[in-house]
C-alpha cells in the first residue's frame, strides 16, 4: 500500500499548517525579513526568527549591518540586551565583546580568549527598506538576492503604505490566505468590499513560483480601487488581479486596471502592488510586514485615510488566522478527518508543493 495514500489526513505529505503536530515548515536557505532598516539605530536589535534568536547592529565605522546569533557564548545571555561599542557588540551580563564576524575579542576579567568563544554570524542585506537575514548554509546566500520585484517600495513614482501585523499563526496560513482572495467577500465584506471574487482563479505553476490570475473583464471597481484611480465606482473597467508565491518569505499581489474609455488626457492604465513579507518566529507565531502601493502620486489626505483602512483590513485577516491556528493547535495529535480543499485552494496546494520541494532539498543537502 502506498504510504502516502494511507496517511491519515493531509499534513504528513504537506508542509501546510493543517493537521498533525505543528512543525517547523520553513526552509533556512532563504532571505527572510528580520526588521525594517529604520529599526536599527545605534542600539542592538534582537528578534526571533525561525526559532533562532538573532541580534542586528550597525558598525560605527561604516554603518554596515551585522547579524549574529543572539546568544553570548559565555552564559547565553542575549547580546541584544547589551550595547554597541564602535564596531563591536558587548554583552550586558559580563562584558564579553564580539567583533562583527562573531568572534569574541575581549573577556574583561582575563587576558586570554578561548578559541571557541564565538557566536555564529549570518549573511545580512539591506534592500527596499528591509533587513534580510540568511539563516541557512552561508555558502548559498550569495547565489540569490532579496527579490527585485520589491523595488517599487522605494520608488518615488509610487505611493506606498506599509505596516506590521504580528500573527499568532503559522506563516503559511497567511501565505495561503493571500493566495485565495475568495475570502474577500466574507472576511472583508464590511471593509474592503471587493465582492466579486466568487469563482476560483486560474493557477500558473513556475519552477519555484505559483501564480493565480483572476480577470474581471468588465466590472465596476470597489472604492479601494475606484477612488485612487479617479475612475470611481460606477463605470465598468477591465481588471486583472494576480498574486504569486515568490519565495517562502515573499508573496506578491497586483491589480492591473485598464479603463476602456478614459476621459481626454486621463490615464487609462493603473497598477496596484501588494507585498506580504512573513517571517516565522516559531511554528505558530509570525512576523508579518505588508506593503501596498499605487503607481500614482496620491495626495496626503488620501494616504491619511488609506493607511488606517489597510491596517483594519489586515487586522481582519489576523483575527481569523489566529482563531484558525487556535483550533488547529487544539488537534495537535492529528485530525481524525482530513482538511477539505476546494478548487479555490489550487494555488495554496501548489505553493505547499513548492515549499515541500525546498524543504526536501535542504534536508538532502544537510544529509550529504
Amino acid at each position: 500500500m502506498n504510504p502516502e495514500t494511507q496517511a491519515a489526513g493531509y499534513s504528513t505529505r504537506s508542509p501546510g499548517p493543517f493537521g498533525g503536530p505543528v512543525q517547523a515548515n520553513y526552509p533556512r536557505n532563504c532571505w527572510w525579513a528580520a526588521a525594517r532598516s529604520s529599526d536599527i539605530g545605534d542600539k542592538p536589535y534582537g528578534c526571533t526568527m525561525l526559532d533562532t534568536p538573532v541580534v542586528l547592529y550597525r558598525r560605527a565605522s561604516d554603518s554596515q549591518l551585522v547579524a549574529l546569533h543572539d546568544r553570548c557564548a559565555h552564559r547565553w545571555a542575549p547580546l541584544s540586551a547589551g550595547w554597541v561599542e564602535g564596531d563591536r557588540i558587548v554583552c550586558g551580563y559580563h562584558g564579553f565583546a564580539y567583533e562583527a564576524g562573531g568572534k569574541c575579542v575581549r573577556i574583561p576579567t582575563q587576558d586570554s580568549v578561548p578559541a571557541k568563544a564565538c557566536v555564529r554570524p549570518y549573511p545580512v542585506r539591506e534592500r527596499y527598506g528591509m533587513v534580510w537575514v540568511w539563516l541557512g548554509d552561508a555558502s548559498l546566500a550569495d547565489a540569490t538576492e532579496p527579490a527585485a520585484e520589491l523595488a517599487f517600495i522605494t520608488d518615488p513614482a509610487w505611493t506606498v503604505v506599509t505596516g506590521e501585523t504580528p500573527l499568532e499563526a503559522n506563516y503559511m496560513m497567511l501565505k495561503e490566505n493571500v493566495l485565495d482572495l475568495t475570502h474577500f467577500g466574507y472576511v472583508h465584506r464590511h471593509s474592503i468590499k471587493v465582492m466579486d471574487w466568487d469563482r476560483p482563479p486560474k493557477v500558473e505553476v513556475g519552477d519555484t513560483t505559483v501564480t493565480y490570475v483572476q480577470e474581471f473583464p468588465s466590472a465596476p471597481l470597489a472604492f479601494i480601487y475606484g477612488v485612487p484611480t479617479g475612475i470611481g465606482m460606477e463605470r465598468t473597467v477591465y481588471r486583472k488581479n494576480w498574486g504569486r508565491f515568490l519565495t517562502p518569505s515573499i508573496n506578491l499581489g497586483a491589480v492591473e486596471i485598464r479603463d476602456p474609455s478614459p476621459a481626454p488626457g486621463a490615464r487609462a492604465e493603473f497598477r496596484f502592488n501588494v507585498v506580504h513579507l512573513t517571517t516565522p518566529i516559531s511554528p505558530t507565531r509570525t512576523r508579518y510586514w505588508w506593503f501596498q502601493g499605487w503607481d500614482i502620486q496620491l495626495p496626503g489626505e488620501y494616504v491619511a485615510k488609506w493607511q488606517p483602512g489597510v491596517e483594519a483590513g489586515y487586522a481582519e485577516d489576523k483575527a481569523i488566522l489566529n482563531e484558525v491556528q487556535r483550533i488547529v493547535s487544539l488537534d495537535a495529535a492529528g485530525c481524525d478527518y482530513p482538511e477539505i480543499l476546494a478548487q479555490a485552494d489550487q494555488a495554496a496546494i501548489q505553493a505547499r508543493r513548492k515549499l515541500q520541494a525546498l524543504l526536501d532539498a535542504e534536508r538532502q543537502g544537510a544529509a550529504r
Partner: protein, 314 residues
C-alpha cells in the same frame, strides 16, 4: 423562484424558465450574465441567462445533463415545473465591450446560453456581429430553431462535428486577423475555449479583445465519452471494474478498498496513488504536466485510464 416551464431543447439539454412566485419583476441583467442556482441538495451552480435582457419577469437557463457531473446537472434535470429554488441576483463576468465595431461570438455546445443572449442584445441595438455555434450533432443543438427564425439568422453559422465538411468550423477563418475595435467572445467546454483563444492569439489577437466565460472553465472531466476500465490491486491481485459514470475511488470503495480523499476533484493530491502498469488519463490540477507525463501516479478521485487496465500500488 418558481420553475414556470421546462423544455427539452436538445438531447440531454433542458431549459428552465424561472419566475418570481408572486409575479414580481426580477432584477435586471445584461447580456453575458449568470446566476448562482442553489439546488435542493445544497450544491450551488452557475448558469448563464439565455433570454433577452429586455425580459423583466423571467430568467431562462439551459442545463446539459452530464452523467459524470458532480451532481449539479443531474439535480437540475430532476426538478419539475412548479418546484421552487433559490438563486442569486444576476452577475456579469462576461460583459459585452460597448465600443466594439464588430463582435465575433463563438459557442461550443451548452456554451450557447450567454452567447445567445449577447447575439440578441447586439441584434437589438443594430450592432454588427457573427455567431458561430459548434455542436457535436444537430440533435444536440439547443435553441437551433430560435436562431434560425431570428432577425440575425444570416449572421449565424451552425457547425456540427458529424456534418459535411463544408460546414465544419474553421476557427482561423472565423476569427480572422485582429482588427481594432473587433472583440471576440467564447463560451463552451474548457478545451474548446482554450483552442479558440489559442487560435486567436496565434493570429495576433491581444488579450484585451478576447473574452471568455470563466465559471465553466474548471478543468474537471468532460465525461461524454468516458468508458469503463479495470484497476488491479498490486497487493492482492484483485481486479475491480470502473464503470463509465463511476470514479476509481468510488469503484474501490464499493469493493471495500478505502483511499483517503479530500477535494474529490483533482485539486489537492490527497488521493495520489502510484501506477505500476497501464496509462492513466489525467484529469487533475495537482500534478505538473511533467509529472503527468511520467504516468507513474495519478489521482483516482477524478482521473481515468487510457489503457483497459491500470495496476495500482494498493
Amino acid at each position: 423562484m418558481r420553475i414556470e416551464r421546462k423544455t427539452d431543447e436538445a438531447v440531454d439539454i433542458s431549459s428552465f424558465e424561472l419566475v418570481d412566485p408572486d409575479g414580481q419583476a426580477l432584477p435586471p441583467f445584461s447580456a453575458g450574465s449568470h446566476i448562482d442556482v442553489h439546488l435542493p441538495d445544497g450544491l450551488v451552480r452557475q448558469y448563464s441567462l439565455a433570454n433577452d435582457p429586455r425580459d423583466t419577469h423571467r430568467y431562462l437557463i439551459a442545463v446539459l445533463r452530464d452523467a459524470n457531473s458532480r451532481g449539479g446537472s443531474i439535480g437540475m434535470h430532476a426538478l419539475v415545473v412548479g418546484a421552487t429554488i433559490a438563486i442569486s441576483d444576476p452577475k456579469n463576468h462576461f460583459a459585452l465591450a460597448h465600443s466594439a465595431q464588430h463582435s465575433i461570438l463563438i459557442a461550443g455546445g451548452i456554451g450557447i446560453t450567454p452567447i445567445l443572449c449577447m447575439a440578441e442584445r447586439l441584434a437589438h441595438v443594430g450592432a454588427s456581429f457573427d455567431l458561430h455555434y459548434c455542436t457535436r450533432s444537430a440533435e444536440r443543438t439547443a435553441f437551433s430553431e430560435r436562431i434560425r427564425s431570428s432577425s440575425y439568422a444570416d449572421h449565424a453559422h451552425l457547425h456540427h462535428d458529424d456534418g459535411p465538411s463544408d460546414q465544419k468550423f474553421d476557427a482561423k477563418a472565423a476569427i480572422g486577423n485582429p482588427r481594432d475595435d473587433v472583440h471576440l467572445y467564447v463560451c463552451g467546454p474548457t478545451g474548446f475555449m482554450d483552442w479558440v483563444l489559442g487560435t486567436a492569439r496565434e493570429l495576433g489577437w491581444p488579450d484585451t479583445r478576447l473574452h471568455r466565460e470563466y465559471f465553466a472553465g474548471v478543468a474537471t472531466a468532460s465525461a461524454d465519452d468516458d468508458g469503463a476500465f479495470e484497476v488491479q490491486l498490486a497487493s492482492s491481485g484483485a481486479v475491480i471494474r470502473v464503470e463509465p459514470d463511476q470514479s476509481v475511488v468510488a469503484a474501490l470503495a464499493a469493493a471495500g478498498v478505502s483511499v483517503a480523499v479530500s477535494c474529490e476533484q483533482g485539486v489537492c493530491g490527497t488521493c495520489l496513488t502510484r501506477v505500476i502498469d497501464g496509462t492513466p488519463d489525467h484529469r487533475d490540477m495537482y500534478l505538473t504536466p511533467e509529472e503527468q507525463a511520467r504516468c507513474d501516479q495519478f489521482t483516482p478521485c477524478c482521473s481515468r485510464a487510457k489503457t483497459p487496465r491500470l495496476v495500482l500500488d494498493l
